[in-house]
Amino acid sequence: MSVQNSGSSMLSTATTSRPGVPVKSPMYRDHMLARLLRDRRAMIGLVILAIFVIVAIAAPLLAPGNPRASVVAGSEAPSLAHLLGTTAKGEDVLALLIWGSQSSLGIGFTVGALATLIGLLVGLVSAFFGRVVDDVLSVVTNIFLLIPGLPLLIILAAFLPPGPGTIVIVLVATGWAGSARVVRSQALSLRGKDYTDAAVVTGERALTIMFREMLPNMASIVMSTFLACVIFGIGAQAGLEFLGLGDVSAISWGTNLYWASIEGSLIRGTWWTFIPSGVAIALVAFALALINYAVDEITNPRLAGRTKRKDRRR
């Protein structure tokens, strides 16, 4: 029979690529970092983020001493001695900004990681098992989505003892549902793929299928969900603390804004006490959003194609 022949000829035809058919190569995790580093927008985002992270880590070196200590008698405009001026209590605004980045970034990323993780678990389990499990988890998710976030934040924050732990719990509780929804819909489409069924037929356990077969195919969506959760975490933390619902003695960009407001900076026109922290929050969010767009574009070939075509037309 011609089994041997057909086998060997098939090998030879397959290795030569056919003309006119561009070889489709979907994007994978290992390509992603390299491509991120080549993307101009992602690069800007990463650099901004890196600066903030370095500042946060190096805070004791950059602004030694207690940032709450009064260095001058009262509010002073920016000068060479105090680059960003001082608050009404005479604290150095630059020192507060530097020390505040520790708490803001720390809580932001913790919230982002935890909310994404919970969303991931709920979404995957919901999509994989379907039926009753999905019904129950979807109802729970929808309830958390529907509860107005800010009032819940305020109530939870008011009842729990103040501190970074409380803030994290409150923000994760209100932030996970959105990512669960996104993950679930993506996982549902993966659940319908033949390779997931193939893994079931192979006899893989549910957890293995969820985390080793499905999860790697969701890398991009997990990444962008995580970034969105971090942005949410940093913004919402600042919001809570601005309202005085955090630990007001801790130093963060949110509490900086809180004290600036309490001390009447707006009325007195001491803009240097609130603008630096506000700009810092905006910059970090901006950097994360840039990275998010780039991730989106790299993992979604259709978006990438659009920009490429635009480039050529130019």
Binding site: M10, T13, G20, Y195, A198, T202, G203, E213, P216
Partner: protein, 611 residues
């Protein structure tokens, strides 16, 4: 209308310049891919005469669709004609621009696209879409256009009252007819059909092909017919060209090329689509004859041991909203036995429930009722919720789409070593060795183990999928249309591989397909499924040579056959369809059905609904 008279007429005629509708000369087309120029079509020349059907056959990527698109100037931003010319009558297509081009398209040349069923606008009624063509290209009032649209629908065999239907309310075949109606609306000289029936079942395909032939006889347009199915092409076209890698390998009279292919590749394509009924005058391929001789023996040897016993299984799918529950019966009291070392083909049209049977056997779907015994395990009683690993170790599945059944983030190694890790105590090093052995057993280069699926061709991927199923050393493999997504030239290889695995390892295979010819080629026994119920079964050759049930007869007669003797009879087809409709509508509940009637010791058919 038969092909012979016109075929001889056109081949004996000298190519009269006035008679040529389309003239393609030394055409070379290249695509720009990542800054590089890739030649898709190289130096192709052919011409199509008035009223003729010219076929272009070839596999995906052979450049046949590129030519079709070039004729309508639809190459897209990155494709361009490097050299050569396309002339349509006295018009040089390359020179057309703007308004001229718009007038040329559809008036002179129209096209039925590959995914024609999806090329209708889902938010417009079919009637409006035809009326649009008239009001756009002809200065016609809406009322006039409406009348013409009604005539047109009637012409292609759709009830004109379906004018107000939306595409989703029509069956696949009707949508295809509607698309053809739109293409013919302006009575073009040339109709390009790019795989117009690939997505359709054989019976509908035959009806549509016949419809096209009749329309062609009445309206006199020429057709450029593109397909990869050579049997179909020989049946419909007078002349054809075979393409591979952008090169036109041979052009000639269809019957001539089919009987005496001059090119090795053409031979391969012809072999890939064997006609279902073997004509006595045609010499049977030697390899198939050997197989036919061996099959009854294999079936007889195995008859003692039943591996899978499928008894009165019913599966209902419930859908719809919370308030309007709808239930669809996908499998309706189906029973069959699969013996050790047997290859059994399960054939039927799409939607007949054959894939559901595979999914039930793979324990991906829970049957609503019935009994399923595999290797002595009464599956639904012993393992009601999910399959045990012992079961998975016995029954494995090969999926239809090799592009979807391999996880794109994994390396090939993963697919072979995971089952080994689950079912054996082999060490990591032993698993690596075993994976290499598995690659050899499916005739693949072990060097591919460290590749990702997207780096492999479709045929290679399907072989990987088969190797994955083999890794657990199963007793039964469910193969759900394993070759339908593959290119023609690799189909035979995969089917032969399945056969060899049965011969060497004694694995039982349930081969699910809609292609009777391949069922005849690969399977010892064939069972036929009609709307969820099995209506006929027996040794493949017996079932296809002497079909008993009207539905089986219909399927066999509708399969493309280049050597067809009996012309299509419209009334006869309508009668058979009506009969089959009464059979499915008046079907008795599973327990009340009359016993099967046996034609021979193994060949049976259902008498339910037959008087």
């Amino acid at each position: 209308m038969t092909t012979t008279p016109s075929a001889t007429a056109s081949s004996t005629q000298a190519p009269d310049a006035a008679d040529v509708i389309l003239d393609v000369r030394d055409l070379t087309i290249a695509y720009e891919v990542n800054g590089r120029s890739v030649t898709a079509v190289e130096n192709v020349s052919f011409s199509i005469r008035r009223g003729e059907t010219f076929g272009l056959a070839g596999e995906s990527g052979s450049g046949k669709s590129t030519i079709a698109n070039a004729i309508l100037k639809l190459l897209g931003g990155n494709g361009r004609i490097v050299s050569g010319s396309i002339r349509c009558g006295d018009v040089e297509i390359e020179s057309l621009t703007g308004e001229e081009l718009r007038a040329f398209r559809w008036n002179r040349v129209s096209m039925v696209f590959q995914s024609a069923m999806n090329s209708l606008n889902p938010v417009m009624t079919v009637g409006d879409q035809i009326i649009d063509v008239f009001t756009t290209h002809r200065s016609m009032s809406r009322a006039e256009a409406r009348d013409r649209a009604r005539q047109l629908l009637e012409l292609v065999g759709i009830d004109p009252d379906r004018m107000t239907s939306y595409p989703h309310q029509l069956s696949g075949g009707m949508r295809q007819r509607a698309v053809i109606a739109i293409a013919l609306a302006l009575e073009p000289d040339l109709l390009i059909m790019d795989e117009p029936t690939t997505a359709l079942d054989v019976v509908v395909q035959q009806e549509i092909i016949n419809e096209i032939k009749e329309l062609q006889a009445r309206l006199g347009f020429a057709i450029l017919f593109i397909t990869h199915d050579l049997s179909l092409m020989v049946e419909i076209s007078q002349r054809l060209g075979i393409m591979r890698h952008g090169v036109l390998l041979e052009v000639g009279d269809s019957a001539e090329v089919y009987a005496r292919p001059t090119h090795e590749y053409t031979r391969k394509l012809i072999d890939a689509f064997p006609p279902v009924t073997r004509d006595l005058s045609a010499p049977a391929p030697a390899s198939a004859a050997v197989v036919d001789g061996a099959s009854p023996d294999a079936a007889a040897d195995a008859a003692g041991e039943v591996v899978v016993s499928f008894r009165d299984v019913t599966k209902d799918f419930t859908g719809g909203s919370m308030f309007a529950r709808r239930s669809t019966r996908a499998v309706d009291g189906a029973s069959f036995d699969l013996h050790a070392g047997e290859i059994m083909a399960l054939v039927g049209e799409s939607g007949s429930g054959k894939s559901t049977i595979a999914r039930i056997l793979a324990r991906l779907e829970q049957p609503s009722a019935g009994r399923l015994v595999v290797e002595g395990i009464d599956v639904l009683r012993d393992e009601p919720r999910r399959a045990s690993r012992r079961y998975r170790n016995t029954v494995q599945m090969v999926f239809q789409d090799p592009f979807g059944s391999l996880n794109p983030t994994k390396r090939i190694r993963h697919f072979l070593e995971r089952p080994l890790a689950i079912y054996s105590d082999l060490s990591a090093a032993q698993r690596r060795q075993e994976a290499v052995a598995l690659m050899h057993s499916v005739e693949l280069d072990p060097a591919l183990l460290d590749r990702h699926p997207h780096e492999l061709s479709g045929g290679q991927r399907q072989r990987v999928a088969i190797a994955r199923a083999l890794a657990v050393n199963p007793k039964v493999i469910l193969a759900d249309e394993p070759t339908s997504m593959l290119d023609v030239s690799v189909r035979m290889g995969v089917l032969q591989l399945l056969k060899r695995l049965r011969d060497e390892r004694g694995i039982s295979i349930l081969y699910i397909t809609h292609d009777l010819a391949s069922a005849r080629f690969v399977a010892d026994t064939t069972i036929v499924m009609l709307r969820g119920a099995l209506v006929e079964g027996g040794a493949s050759a017996e079932v296809m040579d002497a079909p008993q049930h009207p539905y089986t007869r219909l399927l066999v007669s509708a399969a493309p056959d280049p050597l067809r003797r009996t012309p299509f009879d419209r009334e006869e087809r309508a009668r058979v369809r009506a009969l089959i409709h009464t059979i499915t509508e008046g079907r008795s509940p599973a327990q009340d059905r009359p016993a099967h009637r046996f034609v021979s010791s193994t060949h049976w058919y259902s008498q339910d609904g037959l008087d």
